[in-house]
Amino acid sequence: MTDLLKYAIELVAVLLLALGIKGLSKVRSARGANQLAAVAMGLAVLGLLLNYLGTSGISIAAWAWIIAGTLVGGVLGAITAQRVPMTSMPETVALFNGCGGMSSLLVALAAALYPAALDAAGPVAVVSIVVSVFVGAITFTGSIVAMAKLQGWLSTPAWMQSKARHAVNIALAVASLVGAVEMLRSADSGTGLWLLVVASGLLGIGVTLPIGGADMPVVISLLNSYSGVAAAAAGFVVGSQLLIVAGAMVGAAGLILTQVMCNGMNRSLVSVLFGGALGATAAKGGGGGEYTNITSCSVEECALTLEAAERVVIVPGYGLAVAQAQHTLREVTRVLESAGIDVAYAIHPVAGRMPGHMNVLLAEADVPYEQLQEMDQINPEFPATDVVLVLGANDVVNPQAKNDPDSPLYGMPVLDVQDARTVFVVKRGMSAGYSGIKNDLFELANTSMLFGDAKKVLGDLLVELKDLGLGKK
């Protein structure tokens, strides 16, 4: 009877999780789907507890440790989720993800140390433990390094950019393998286990550390996929089919998302993982060098041009997110709209720091969803656009990607902003973008630079526009 109940609950949980992931792919149903997945998770936990209550029982000591773990993890998670600003979403996902990997690692560690208690003896169990430890450790250290790099706490040491890192990483991989073989050879080999834990942990660091900031979201997405694999492996360790299904689904989903992100940046997964930072090779490619023909202009001129425009397209980028200027931007566009000017936002697939991140930031600032246009939709519309305002975006508006076959960016899909009548680029200075490549757009005759922090420039722009009499009802 209890078995039947257990299977029924597990089945419903899997169904709800699948529906949850499915629903997350549509804007209208996404929020409900997320809640559905949360309910499914709760149901799965409840089912597991009920099952053990009905069979072996749960001791008082076990309850105490369960409650302790739940309180600490749950409360910290809830606080983090509420406090973290939307701009640091990639770091947050990396942190959560690393903790998921750590959890799988610890369970596998427990099973390896006390195989009798968890029925984890025999070669199949050992292989599952090896996979769970290996992937879990890489996920944990890799995610933490990714988070630290995105937060600016860590930068890549010089030797990590050299070819020597490949030798180091291969050595670490071999050490992990030796540890795994040792564990298979003798069931109670502590040496093999610890070698595996340490080597795979270091491997996670060694693989992630050389990767440049621009590629970091891809890595986070990949690590997200890994944490699913680690969970599935933990499912093999403790013999839970529900864990295996859920882990496999997340693993597959993460892989697809990673591929999508790579396509958006015209990078192959292999070059992201083994190519190191793009900036290191950029100098050899075409299009390097100094800017010669830059036109800069004042906020006042920009305001006057905007006032005369009929159609304005905003191109938001990473710089806007860093400056936290999305709310000021929304104020500016409100003023423009009230003057009868048509406003749209051109969203490059990898605008911001992850695919879809810019949409989240703009939604936070109350930008109507209909105004957000994807690249393929808006590119044909640029010739009919009067003014394009590029805010902290760089590589995604570089015409080199279309015109210069020698450029490292060549082939990357970009926004054709140069087709518009006038382009204003708001930028802190003439530094290069993530890729370290010169942007030909800045030298075009119809481009003017507005130097300064995006938030400050937009604030000044707002004042100028209001001085011109816009935005009064």
């Binding site: 979403m89 903790c99 997200n224």
Partner: protein, 98 residues
Amino acid sequence: MFVEFLWVLLLGSLLGLELIGKVPPTLHTPLMSGANAISGITVLAALTAIIKAGDNTVLLLLGSVSLGFALFNVIGGFLVTDRMLAMFSRKPARKENR
């Protein structure tokens, strides 16, 4: 038993590939975050370890810490995803472009 598990793994992977085949780029970040929360399903493994630990304190401790990490992932992940999606659904009656 093992073969059965392999089938489950295979079918689960295929399901995952199929489920998120078509997602608008807008939702990639929330999807990543939501999927990440689901990967915290290792709570189940952590709970199993605690319950089966008996009076083995090391095992109890390992399980409990593992549970903490997993729940940090689950609760934080779902809440932060909800926060993101709440921004999208604030204004009703919108059309999906893709």
